[in-house]
């Protein structure tokens, strides 16, 4: 008999339904659903249309269990979350030395849209601020704009396991209002940190920010990194495993804008957020977290998303440097049966 893994995959999906971990996530959802703080991003009209009540969280484990609670199919734009993954692609295209010459990996403590370059080297501080992301986007290979965008979309498809699209209205709005980013790009051109195809690169940058994803996609992207670059559901390698550590490192130090220091201290899970309301968070070798909720705090991070990651980190001891015995043992909660606590 040929075993194609169908029974195993159906069994995994049922065990996710009956797992106590799903009950736990449902309780988290109920706890934070009513949170009424924060503001939906409104620097372009398309983002302000988001419903502040939207709230979804998805967790995928490296052994392929999928947990979804709330609005996990609702699409929104990926925004800054794309930066981490495009950085990974730039590393694959050129290697560490060249990429490192164009963009540093120092956290800035400055806002994401600050126009600051390193005094001595003229490099942007890190790939997670806009300037750094534009510099890494410039490095994406391809003979023309179409091919470069296609390569980026194909990369995201390897992570998520489904075909993604760019939201045309968001892209056009980003492009129309993106003068600050344009200024940064030209400043970097002046210093020779980006190439002459600067308008094409800016378009590519605005397009990658406008890719439509959902909470499940963000969890798939995170778990793929957690799993050494290999999507645990499709088995496809999304990124060369050698560069997984680079991507996760910059997420850890710079992923949550100028909240990153506090984030490492309190949550200790490498993560990247976007002003669309998404957060993708990587617990290496264990799981990926994807959350979506549009209301943001003053630093631009999704409020409910932060709460969910904080709770998961504390309750299951997922902080990278946690040494104490956690309140709950992840394995037991993932693979146990909720029925025993009925």
């Amino acid at each position: 008999m040929v075993d194609t893994g169908n029974l195993k995959s159906l069994t995994a999906s049922i065990s996710a339904v009956t797992s106590p971990f799903r009950t736990y996530l449902n309780e988290l959802y109920d706890r934070y659903k009513s949170l009424q703080e924060g503001r939906v991003a409104d620097y372009i009209p398309e983002l302000s249309l988001a419903d502040p009540n939207w709230f979804g969280m998805c967790i995928v484990t490296t052994d392929g269990q999928v947990f979804e609670v709330g609005n996990c199919d609702q699409l929104f734009t990926i925004q800054s979350i794309a930066k981490a993954f495009v950085y990974g692609m730039a590393l694959e295209d050129h290697g560490r030395n060249l990429v490192g010459a164009r963009v540093s990996v120092e956290p800035t403590g400055e806002a994401f849209n600050s126009i600051v370059l390193d005094d001595k080297t003229n490099r942007p501080y890190n790939p997670m601020v806009n300037a750094g992301a534009i510099a890494t986007t410039d490095l994406i290979k391809g003979k023309n704009a179409t091919e470069r965008l296609k390569r980026i979309l194909d990369m995201f498809q390897r992570y998520t396991g489904r075909e993604l699209n760019v939201s045309m209205p968001v892209f056009l709005s980003e492009k129309a209002t993106g003068n600050r980013n344009r200024a940064m790009a030209y400043l970097m051109l002046n210093f020779g940190m980006v190439t002459e195809r600067v308008e094409e690169t800016l378009d590519l940058y605005f397009q990658q920010c406008s890719i439509l994803v959902n909470a499940k996609d963000l969890a798939m992207m995170a778990v793929t990194l957690a799993n050494g670059g290999k999507n645990p559901i499709t088995g496809e390698q999304a990124i060369d495993e050698r560069y997984v550590q680079d991507v996760i490192s910059v997420m850890l130090t710079c992923g949550m804008y100028d909240y990153s220091g506090e984030w490492i201290y309190r949550v200790g899970i490498p993560a990247k957020s976007g002003v669309g309301g998404g957060i993708t968070a990587v617990v290496p070798k264990k799981l990926g977290i994807g959350t979506f909720s549009p209301p943001l705090d003053e630093k631009g991070n999704s409020l409910r998303g932060i709460k969910v990651c904080e709770a998961l980190s504390q309750d299951f001891g997922l902080h990278l440097f946690n040494m104490a015995k956690p309140d709950r043992v992840l394995e037991d909660w993932l693979h146990g049966s909720a029925v025993d606590s009925w």
Binding site: L7, K8, L10, T11, I14, S15, V17, T18, R22, N26, S337, A338, V339, D340, W342
Partner: protein, 253 residues
């Protein structure tokens, strides 16, 4: 702690609903609060045994799955209908027998998570001691779910080749789902069969204990699908066999 018991057979016509109703009643006779959910949404029927008329079933499991009601509200107290005595209770969640309702649930499907959460809510909300799940024959998502959450899975089969083969498939699935306890029950055996030899053969085939063997009974057939046999004829050998299976379940769960 409340216990979940699923009754399943690979093929139809094994007498699954009858078996479930009688076993649930035998346990209720010990003074327990017993819930029964008819998850056989494509071909519901167990409500007949509990004397619940379709006209009295205003809302059903289907309505819960469509988000129109809570699951406790579609649980009907049927102990009185079938002459249950003592402190026990029988609470039935029927599935709709209306063709349109069946068509809707087959067409649109439903979220299996909702069924799981419904079972949980029912057990908690009604303080059940036992939850019995009457399943649709064959394998489906709800079968997988009910096997996964069961403390005891009872596989009902008739002594013929097709049932033997199908049961082996279900046993594989149940083991993959790490089922806690599995029991077999053989139904509709010919009266001339050597029951001891049959038991031995079935137990050896699956390496699972046989909890009970039920000969094809004129008496049960006569009662057809109305009423609960072992409540009406408590001293009948068939009722005694159910009592034995009930004791075994109360022992392990």
């Amino acid at each position: 702690m409340p216990k979940v018991v699923s009754i399943h057979s690979y093929r139809g016509g094994t007498g699954k609903s009858n078996f479930t109703a009688n076993l649930a009643a035998s346990i209720a006779l010990h003074g327990y609060r017993v819930g029964i959910v008819d998850t056989d949404v494509p071909s519901p029927g167990i409500h007949n045994l509990f004397g619940l008329e379709p006209e009295a079933m205003h809302q059903t499991l289907n309505h819960y799955l469509w988000g129109e009601t809570s699951i406790e509200e579609v649980a009907y107290d049927v102990g009185g209908n079938v002459g249950l005595t003592g402190d026990g209770q029988l609470l039935l969640v029927p599935a709709s027998v209306k063709a349109d309702d069946i068509a809707r649930i087959l067409k649109d499907g439903y979220d299996v998570k909702l069924l799981n959460d419904g079972f949980r809510q029912l057990v908690k909300g009604l303080s059940l001691d036992y939850l019995f799940i009457d399943t649709h024959p064959g394998l489906s998502k709800e079968t997988f779910l009910s096997i996964a959450i069961s403390h005891v899975l009872i596989l009902l089969l008739r002594p013929d080749k097709q049932d033997y083969q199908g049961t082996a498939v279900t046993v594989d699935v149940a083991r993959q789902l790490k089922v806690r306890n599995m029991l077999l029950a053989v139904n509709k055996t010919h009266s001339k069969l050597n029951l001891q030899a049959l038991r031995q053969k079935v137990e050896e085939t699956y390496n699972i204990p046989v909890a009970g063997i039920f000969p094809l009974s004129e008496d049960v057939v006569q009662l057809a699908s109305e009423g609960i046999f072992c409540l009406k004829y408590q001293d009948h050998p068939i009722s005694q066999e159910f009592k034995k299976v009930a004791l075994k379940i109360m022992e392990i769960a």
